[in-house]
């Protein structure tokens, strides 16, 4: 006990040196554990989500981008496919198709255009408010609600795609009608709208005055016996309300409207296999993926990188340990007179060794405690860190 008391007094007196030593030891202990935590969490997040999503259909191209965007709403947007892809699966009667359109954002959070089937598929229930019912309504994930302080009754405006895209997507003021229960998945960070609302954001659907009854000539481009062509000056409503919802409409055939991907939930394994077989043709411009297979490939790459990182960290750790040993050795040399004094007083060499060992143990214990605390902090934020580092 006296050894620890004396060691503690020495450590406290030499705060800066102690702090540096503790920091070094903490870092070399923390890094590999933190990395392991992050990788385990990323594996858990990525895998559980991938396993729960049987099939994804999208445009041919990067399988990883398609899966990451569809499952985790990552920033990389694959090429869009047409709504007709959903009808194709529906008509096959092999799977339930759930369209997903993730092109837009609102205050940094992805807007996910989909159908009500998505919520049943992911087992998402509103914690407050209700699910979306009418065009222009949105339901937000738990984190969106917390970060933006949104509750049912609030509103959220979609973000323009680029600052200077004057002819592009209009910001739409959406009404928040519900906040989902915390799901501990990417769904917590999403703003969910009906697919049709996403198309309104894109400008494929809109609401405006009755064009056939316009009196302002600057709003009418051309008038014929059966059709009135309006000019670009015609004001499109940027918010959908009870008063103007009746005016909202879509031009053209919605079968050609864009979506990012289709989540297909097959009736059974056999149906899933048959469905996959239908996309094997060389002329096929869509691909069908099993997310688990794609994510397994990604994880293999991540773990390969991790092995390299482990090797690097090991070398750094070795260098750090050698530096720490050098610090202790130099410290011993500087304390020679102290050692001589206590030896003269009557202290044995074993006791001297105990004193030094006590110092080392206190430093290691402090580092261990700090490392544990930092790991707790990392653990608390792994969800966010994994999203930022691996999902994007």
């Amino acid at each position: 006990m006296h050894s620890f008391y004396l060691a503690w007094k020495y450590i406290i007196y030499n705060r800066i040196k102690t702090a540096v030593l503790v920091a070094c030891v903490t870092l070399i202990a923390f890094l590999p554990f933190a990395l392991q935590l992050l990788l385990e969490e990323s594996e858990r997040q990525l895998t559980s989500r991938a396993v729960s999503t049987p099939l994804v259909i999208g445009a041919k191209g990067s399988a990883l981008d398609l899966v990451m965007n569809t499952l985790y709403f990552g920033d990389e947007h694959p090429e869009a496919i047409r709504m007709e892809a959903v009808n194709r699966i529906w008509d096959s009667e092999l799977a339930l198709p759930i369209p997903v359109y993730t092109r837009f954002k609102a205050r940094g959070f992805p807007i996910v255009g989909t159908t009500l089937d998505y919520f049943e598929f992911r087992r998402l229930e509103p914690a407050s408010g209700r699910n979306m019912a009418v065009l222009g309504e949105c339901v937000v994930g738990a984190r969106v609600s917390a970060d933006l302080n949104l509750k049912p009754g609030g509103s959220l405006v979609s973000s323009p795609e680029s600052l200077f895209d004057l002819a592009g997507v209009y910001p739409l003021k959406m009404k928040v009608v519900g906040v989902l229960e915390k799901a501990h998945t990417s769904d917590d960070l999403a703003v969910f709208v009906d697919l049709k609302t996403a198309w309104v954001i894109q400008g494929l659907g809109h609401g405006h005055q009755d064009v056939t009854r316009l009196t302002d000539p600057s709003l009418v481009l051309k008038r014929s016996g059966s059709n009135v062509a309006a000019t670009a000056k015609l004001y499109h409503y940027m918010e959908i309300s009870d008063k103007n919802i009746g005016s909202f409409h879509f031009h053209g055939n919605t079968d050609g409207y864009p979506i990012t991907a289709v989540i297909a939930v097959p009736a059974d394994e056999k149906s899933g296999t048959i469905l996959q077989g239908r996309y094997l043709s060389k002329n096929e411009n869509q691909q069908i993926l099993r997310p688990k297979v794609v994510i397994d490939g990604l994880l293999q790459n991540i773990f390969r990188i991790k092995n390299v990182l482990d090797a690097v960290v090991s070398v750094v750790a070795l260098a750090t340990i050698m530096a720490i040993v050098l610090v202790f050795a130099l410290s011993l040399r500087l304390r020679q007179s102290e050692i001589q004094t206590i030896f003269k007083i009557g202290c044995s060499r074993l006791t001297i060794a105990k004193l030094l060992a006590a110092e080392i143990m206190i430093i290691v214990a402090a580092s261990g405690f700090l490392c544990g605390f930092l790991l707790m902090v990392v653990n608390r934020f792994t969800n966010d860190l994994v999203r930022r580092l691996f999902i994007g």
Binding site: Y5, K9, I12, E338, T341, I342, I345, G346, T351, L355
Partner: protein, 228 residues
């Protein structure tokens, strides 16, 4: 005060450092119990070596050393260490306090570095009492760097006296002090050894203080070769 029985006694003492030409040879040396003896001599004559031999820090090549009733020269390393910490107090020229301990912790230090001494409440109270006697009681929470030279040496004396040793060995205890402090330190040291009946053997270069000792031993009388 001479009690009449030898506290320290050496016979035919011979010592030589490894790989050194220094050679100490003392046919006979004795200090009576309760005596305050000064040891003078030129630098390198072996005064500090003698103190180290008496304390058991060094072992003689020949001869015997008795301190009290114990034949120190017959003990092994561990034995000499234990004997030293129980029975001998050191006061050094450079004070040799530990910077990272408070005044009180420095005084109590011997009790924390060996199992031979038990740190109890009674010991703590004695430490505080000693500090009062030495006039450093108001500084017990301070660290050595906050003390004057005199205060440091008085703290060192407390540390040496706390285990109630039979023998105090002071090696140039006033060497680094100004004249006023020298006198004061010596007064305090003498008062402490008188209070506890401790024998004092002090190496000093300070001839002005010699007359205060009971006896002065001139090292020139002992044969030695080379620095020691």
């Amino acid at each position: 005060m001479i009690s009449g029985s030898a506290m320290v006694e050496t016979e035919s003492l011979k010592f030589q450092y490894h790989e050194s030409s220094f050679h100490l040879s003392i046919p006979y040396f004795a200090v009576q119990a309760g005596e305050k003896v000064a040891v003078v001599g030129p630098s390198g004559s072996g005064k500090t070596t003698l103190l180290n031999l008496l304390a058991g820090i060094l072992a003689p090549m020949e001869g015997s050393i008795k301190v009290g009733k114990t034949a120190v020269s017959d003990l092994n390393d561990a034995g000499r260490r234990e004997f030293r910490i129980r029975n001998i107090g050191f006061v050094f020229q450079d004070f040799e306090l530990l910077d990272y301990l408070s005044v009180l912790d420095n005084i109590l230090h011997p009790y924390r570095i060996t199992d031979a001494l038990k740190l109890t409440g009674e010991v703590r109270q004695r430490a505080i009492l000693l500090a009062e006697q030495m006039g450093v009681d108001s500084h017990i929470k301070k660290h050595p760097k906050e003390l004057s030279q005199g205060e440091k040496q008085r703290t060192a004396i407390c540390r040496a006296m706390l285990p109630q040793p039979k023998l105090i060995l002071a090696d140039e205890a006033t060497g680094n002090l100004d004249p006023e402090n020298k006198t004061r330190i010596l007064d305090l040291l003498f008062a402490a050894v008188d209070d506890h009946g401790t024998t004092l053997l002090a190496v000093t270069h300070d001839h002005e203080l010699l007359r205060r000792f009971d006896r002065v031993i001139d090292f020139n009388h002992f044969q030695s070769d080379g620095p020691g």
